[in-house]
Amino acid sequence: MTLLIGALIIGLILSLLALGVLVSFRIFSMSDITTDGSITLGASIAAVMLVKGVNPVLATAAGALGGACAGAVTGIIHTKFKINSLLSGILVMTALYSVNLHVMGRSNVPLMQARTLASYGESTGEWLANGKTVNVLGWTVASADAALLVLTLLFAGLAGAALFAFFRTQLGTAMRATGDNPQMIRALGSNVELNIILGLALANSFVALSGALLAQYQGFADAQMGIGMVVWGLASVIIGEALTGTRSLGLTIVGTIMGSVLFRLLVAIALRWGLNPNDLKLITALFVFAALVLPGFLERLKTRKHAA
């Protein structure tokens, strides 16, 4: 049971990362590798501030802001210096590795003693449940875990709703149009370059927020924690699209959150069944490759059958 709840919580925390990837990958049609660096940046900024005793809400917000800056830098390199978006992301990701080490001062910052959002959530849960365990639908669960699950669910829901609302504002629709048809939105007087910079800042603030929360949940920030995270986000987005379709933005957002949780659950089950954790990134990459290639392949198979 603890394993299941743990998987759900991590899935929900990483759904913020998946939402960030949704913005860069689906709205702006960019594969933004800054993600790998900005999740660690969010985690390390939050961790360092928490160790110094800063208020956890403030530390988490600072982490998200750091991600926004990283995304903006990628956007500026891409739009102002006309460097390919993939390469811009790679440059910033590489630079962020050093930045993160400087922020943390070493490669790993543990949060054992620090008061974090997670520890606040756990103690609130125990206070509400009036004990170490609580009965949920017949299951006995640690009340700390239950509280964290509710808290992360709330976080993911709020983030999804905020993103949905934003993309229905004047600025948000102009950003969607930037990804859809830049020529059109430029002719309607919107600054395409600025929209891309803002969009990548928004995407990476979600990614860094996810990193800040993840560090607090797992109790440490680590320089290596970002490796392969953009692929993880892509997998979540793709699973989400399979679950809810892409007909409306709201459904896509809900799907992405569900996709992240489902993917984490599948991974937890596979690990439980004896999957070598070393193979995890390989399998994730293979999965995303298959999900990107299969639809086109099936389509061709179908037309060939028609032709025959």
Binding site: F166, R168, T169, A177, D180, N181, V192
Partner: protein, 270 residues
């Protein structure tokens, strides 16, 4: 209204692909004037429109529009003054977004975009009626993605979007060239209606002699990056398609003469 002075533009300068697209164009257009731009392929008509719209900066010369020196303005800033319809029906609309959302974007042309709802009542209220006036039955499909519509429908909507806020200048770049004859007719009729109703200052590029004689009050004929003929007033009213074709032939003949004369001089003196 629009005043263009001695603008020049060379693409890929000092390479084998050098194209002198505009070689000193002077043009003044009065408010409310509807100007047709004619010319053969490569004569610089579309380049002229793009220079005015700000798709690139001109190498020399100045452009003044509605009392602003816009020569150094970026494209998105000039959009405050200019409405545009492109040749490609896919260029003027955002395909995965709904009809209503596309119009919400157009209703903010050249204005600051904030965090207010895009589909506000101020946008939605007049939208249905204006779209119903197209008589295409699109008023019941406002939530449909615009990419699901035909080229003619999209071009009609783009025209409506470009003129939703009255532009100081309307630029139509062969906006019916990619449509089937029936849709092209519809879009041309609609363009003329909107231009007459709102007294829009308009620059329209076309390849159709028929459109050139039946529409507008002035014809500019471009050749090799310059304005060759400027026909207006009574002369424009009397003009028939054959007259225009004659002028095209004249250009072609002169071009041949030039080339053969050059060849002759070459043989004689070099």
């Amino acid at each position: 209204m629009l005043s263009i002075k001695a603008i020049r533009k060379t693409f890929n300068p000092d390479t084998v692909n050098e194209v002198r697209a505009l070689q000193g164009v002077d043009l003044t257009i009065e408010p409310g004037s509807f100007v047709i731009v004619l010319g053969m392929n490569g004569s610089g008509k579309s380049t002229l429109l793009n220079a005015v719209a700000g798709s690139f900066y001109v190498d020399e010369g100045t452009i003044n529009l509605a009392g602003h020196h816009v020569t150094k303005w970026p494209e998105h800033k000039r959009a405050k003054l200019i409405g545009r319809v492109f040749q490609n029906p896919f260029s003027g609309t955002a395909p995965t977004m709904s009809i209503a959302e596309n119009f919400a974007l157009a209703s903010k042309r050249g204005q600051a975009r904030g965090l207010g709802w895009a589909l506000s009542p101020q946008v939605m209220r007049p939208l249905r009626d204006r779209i119903a006036s197209l008589k295409m039955g699109l008023e019941d499909r406002l939530d449909n993605a615009i990419g699901s519509l035909s080229g003619g429908q999209r071009q009609a909507l783009t025209l409506l979007m470009a003129t939703w806020i009255k532009p100081e200048l309307l630029l139509l770049d062969e906006h019916t060239a990619a449509l089937d004859p029936k849709s092209a007719d519809q879009v041309i009729t609609l363009s003329d209606e909107v231009i007459q109703r709102d007294q829009l200052t308009t620059l329209m590029v076309t390849h159709s002699m028929q459109q050139a004689v039946s529409l507008g009050d002035r014809i500019i004929m471009m050749h090799r990056g310059r304005v060759l003929h400027d026909i207006r007033g009574a002369e424009k009213k009397r003009l028939r398609p054959e007259d225009l074709l004659d002028r095209f032939d004249e250009v072609r003949r002169r071009e041949q003469l030039d080339e053969s004369a050059a060849a002759m001089l070459n043989d004689l003196y070099i």
